[in-house]
Structure formats: C-alpha cells, structure tokens
C-alpha cells in the first residue's frame, strides 16, 4: 500500500523540533501502551503484521496522532481483527522473569537454516524495482526505479511482504544498498552524499549499465 506512512522525501512538515530533557514516557498511559505492545505483541501476530496495522490507519488520523496513540489504535484494531479475546491461550501468561529473558534475547529475523545463495555481490549495480503492492512492503516509494550499488550482505532474513499477510516468512537475502543522493533527488542534491537502505532480494533487479 502506498500509504501516508511512507514519508521519505516529503518536505512539508516543517523544521525538526527536539524537546529538551525529554522523558522516556510523557504519561502513564504511554507506559502501559508501550508495555502492552511489547509484551502482548507476539500473541497478536508477527512484527510485520503489527507494523502494517499502523499503516492501515486512516491517513488523517495517522498524521495527527502521536506515536503512542498510533500504537494504541493499532493494538485495538489487531486485537479485534484476530479475535484473540475470544480464544484465550491455553498456557499461562509469561512471568515477568520469563518475559525479561525475551527482552534481552530478542527475536532475530535472520533464518540461517533457510540460507539462500545471494544473487548479488558487494559492488553490484542494482535497480530497486517499481513495485506498488497493495499490502505491506518495506520498499519505500523514494527508491523505486532508482539505481544503487550493493554495499553489504546481511544474510537471509524474513520477508515482510509475505510475513505481514500470513503468507509465511519466505526468508531471502537481505542487502544494504547505497544510492547516490543525486540519483534519488536529482542534480540539486549534494554529489557527495548518499543514502543506505536495507532491501530484500525480491525488491532488486540487476542493472548492468545506465
């Protein structure tokens, strides 16, 4: 979905304003929303499904909501959509210690057992495909159709475009790709600057010459 969340390249939001000595949370409801999303998130569904839950917010509400308001709205939507309240889990909830061990262990997104031979090598020129899927994707509009260069291989990672929609993890090679700022933004951009972004193999095609 080409959504409002795909913000890269817009210049209409004014200057960035930092809050001096900002606290971790601004109110108690923010604390609870954060903790609910972190501790009950996996019970709702995969991270990619949960991200897409935010992307599906009506654009006017997305733009005027604070970060934790979005997290709240997403959780309300997905709890209803999954019907999870009607099918409570059979095993007991994790204890604080059990969950703390998950906080420190993390949930890696690489899948070494599904390791696929990468089609591209560091230094290869690639073009980001002009894909406009109706569902979740992590290919932002501002790189579509642009030519870059493979900077790094990250290994084999879960593919969000399928995983967000219950179509499996489809692990595939993940690359870091460098794009010249002038390639993305035209001749007025600095010829010295560049943008690095992580893109899955299905987002890329070889590009021999220009």
């Amino acid at each position: 979905m080409n959504g409002i969340h795909d913000l890269g390249g817009m210049t209409c939001f004014g200057p960035v304003e930092a809050e001096p000595d900002e606290p971790v949370f601004h109110s108690d409801w923010e604390r609870r929303v954060f903790a609910i999303n972190v501790a009950a998130g996996a019970a709702v569904g995969p991270l990619d499904y949960r991200r897409h839950g935010i992307e599906r917010m009506p654009p006017d509400i997305y733009v005027r909501s604070s970060y934790y308001e979005k997290w709240l709205a997403r959780m309300e939507l997905l709890v209803a959509e999954t019907g999870m309240l009607d099918h409570p889990p059979k095993q007991p909830a994790q204890s604080p210690d059990e969950f703390e061990s998950i906080v420190y262990a993390g949930r890696p997104a690489n899948r070494d057992d599904a390791r696929a031979a990468p089609h591209f090598a560091v230094g290869d020129r690639v073009r980001a495909l002009n894909l406009n899927p109706t569902g979740h994707t992590r290919l932002p509009r501002y790189v579509r159709g642009r030519v870059g260069q493979i900077h790094r291989l990250h290994g084999t990672h879960v593919f969000p475009d399928t995983n967000a929609h219950g179509q499996g993890e489809s692990p595939q090679p993940l690359y870091n790709v460098r794009f010249a700022a002038t390639e993305l933004w035209g001749p007025a951009a600095s010829a010295r600057d560049s943008l690095y972004i992580d893109l899955w193999e299905d987002y890329l095609e070889p590009c021999e010459s220009r």
Binding site: C12, R31, S66, V79, H154, S194, L195
Partner: protein, 210 residues
C-alpha cells in the same frame, strides 16, 4: 535545500485537552484489562517492561559501547566488523537490537540514522526513541535534505564532508560511532562515556569536549 515554505511543526504545538487525555487513559485501561483478564499478559509483566525501558535500557548503554571503542582499538575493529557480537561483549542485546551495525564518523564522513517507514531504533543501546525521531518532520526530510535537518539541530556539516543517511527499513539497527572529542586522550573510559549523547549516536550531534 532551504525550507522557506515549511509551516511550523504541527505535532508539538497542539497539546491534548484534559478530556482527550482522559479518553486515551480509558481506552488504554480497557485494553489492558481485556488482555490481562484473559491471561494473555500479566500486569506484573507490563510493570517489568516499563521498569526495564525506563531504568535499565537507555542511551547510557550505547555511550559505554562508544567510549569502549574509543579506548580499545581492537574492540573498535570488532564493533565495526560485527556490531551485534561486539555489543554483546558488554552485555547489551535484545529486542530491536538483534542485528546491529555500527557506522563510524570521521573527519571525512558523517553518518545519520532514520526510519522513514515507521520509527525503528536500536533499543538495547539507545533505549526508546525521542519524539522528534518519530516525527514526520524528521522521518520525511532527513533523507532528502540531511544537511538542512542537521542544521535544525545546530549542526553544520562542511560541504567537503560526505553525509551518509541510513534508512532502517529492515531489522538491522544502526549505531553511529561518533568522533571522539578533541581532549579524549586526557580522559578515562568512564568520563568519556559521560560525554556521549543519544543525539551523537543517532548522528544529529557531535560529542563535545569534556
């Protein structure tokens, strides 16, 4: 690129009314009750999550990583080669830091990190992101106008320094290794860590001399 047309940031100005805050609190309480009543998560686990991210997991962790890299060239080399493993040596790991990459600022290169599609951020080393990092203003503009955004933070990058913007589109999380302050040689690791700010590890500030 100037931003003469940009309106003032509308995301900081309109504070919530008391009624709106009460409505948010009620929604959050209802969601928490629904999930805890059904045994999906416990209040004690939610309390623990808040406690962890409010007290144990924050930018002081990243600051120790940075200071250690400044003081130990071999650690610095390991950090730049495999940041996840190097950071784990100091005891930091977990959710939103499963796959770390460190990018080094030098006199020739300045790195800055963003997530244009949502607000991905390396929690184990930086804690939770500040509001400005999650704002449309930052997410949209830093990829197209990094020098202008850095200027919003009072940071002017000379034209002959290359800017690299890192858009965290996958599960890779980026930590900027800032340049050490001018008087770093006269300080020990703990004193250096106290100088390293969150903003310097995102790439919107430099580390000031102590």
């Amino acid at each position: 690129m100037s931003t003469h047309d940009a309106p003032p940031n509308p995301y900081l100005a309109p504070r919530r009314t008391a009624d709106e805050s009460r409505e948010l609190e009620a929604r959050v309480a209802k969601l928490e009750r629904a999930l805890t009543d059904r045994g999906i998560v416990t209040r004690e686990t939610l309390d623990r999550v808040v406690d962890l991210y409010e007290h144990d997991i924050g930018p002081m962790n990243g600051a120790r990583v940075v200071a250690h890299a400044w003081c130990d060239p071999e650690f610095r080399a390991r950090l730049l080669d495999d940041a996840t493993a190097a950071i784990a040596e100091l005891g930091y790991s977990g959710l939103q830091g499963e796959h770390m990459v460190a990018v080094e600022n030098t006199s020739d290169v300045h790195n800055v990190v963003v997530c244009t599609l949502c607000s991905c951020y390396p929690w184990p080393v930086l804690g939770l992101p500040p509001t400005w990092y999650k704002s449309p203003a930052y997410r949209s503009r830093v990829v197209i106008d990094p020098r202008g955004v850095l200027a919003d933070f009072g940071l002017t990058i000379p034209d002959d320094v290359e800017i690299r913007v890192w858009d965290s589109s996958a599960e890779i999380r980026y930590l900027v290794l800032p340049e050490p302050p001018a008087n770093a040689d006269s300080m020990d690791e703990e004193a250096l860590a106290a100088l390293v700010t969150r903003d310097a590890m995102i790439g919107v500030a430099k580390v000031a001399a102590g």
